[in-house]
Symmetry: D2
Subunit: 102 residues, 4 copies
């Protein structure tokens, strides 16, 4: 299973991007794929093809009316790893023996 | 103010990294800088120098016993932007008019 | 057209990775897609689907014998932009009026 | 020694950024630090403090007249590793036994 974090935004629409970001998050939220929205991007959890299809759909959405688009993607694949959206943070809290800011 | 997301890990210690990641998170948690731990990294909020000093301290910690280290950093600076650790997600939820998975 | 830079490596094989990186570069080199190899990754130029297919093929190659894989991808899409593998560096050199280290 | 790749650009100046990018490259080129300019960023080679100081200087330059700035940084530290700006690409070419597109 894959954890995929990504951020995607137009580069030709100035500095106020919440409208564009929201169109992408709407696609993600309705995709059925497990995700977590953070202040710096969105983290998807699923099989490689499943999460990459969501990234494709988001790009196609922005491509409709944006002439320049920037995308950053970071992937952590672990064979057989499940429920890591929650598990990775839990593992650090267990190691340190206290709750952290999440 | 700056939002800085980063992930740092040894590349010479195999695939089980929770011990090393926890040493870094411990430094961040005790730094006094506002942060959010995610499954893919840690997001700091503060002035440029302040957040970069935390990254420096984490690197010095791993350098003690790691021969190869990988680091990824993503920064979003906005003049005068405050409380964006919380505010950026809120803005998307307001735009879409519903709660999201955070 | 898209410029896509990516780096992909196993996270469970220690610090000497040239064998794995070479298997990926071999796929890229034979794909027919325009590319530039750098010390930190590979930059592909092509249509979205075309360059993403190369990334997919590289992941499938590593997935055969790697249990944990890390991937970083950065994309710069520009409507109608062509030959930017060469053109972006040229534009900076023209702006500064001198040759740079490339 | 550290290989540090980074890209930094204003997010409030539209899609034509060569003027801003050139101001940064000018600082790098005059810093005395070994570097390679690529279509997607600049790769510095040096000690941690040395290369981070260059990143700091570039940010201070853009901060003068940009209200929103995006930065991406990727670091590969290897104890004792030298001349990897050239050496990493050579190693892949040696492994594959042929010249690649660089």
């Amino acid at each position: 299973m894959v954890l995929l974090e990504f951020a995607m935004a137009p580069r030709d629409k100035g500095e106020e991007l919440v409208e564009y970001v929201s169109r992408i998050i709407d696609i993600i939220d309705k995709s059925g794929v497990a995700y977590q929205l953070t202040p710096m991007g969105t983290i998807l959890e699923g099989e490689w093809r499943e999460v990459m299809n969501v990234v494709d759909a988001c790009f196609e959405e922005l491509q409709k009316d944006c002439k320049r688009i920037g995308v950053g993607i970071k992937i952590d694949y672990r064979e057989g790893g499940v429920n890591r959206l929650k598990g990775k943070v839990d593992a650090v809290e267990n190691q340190l023996g206290r709750k952290l800011s999440t």
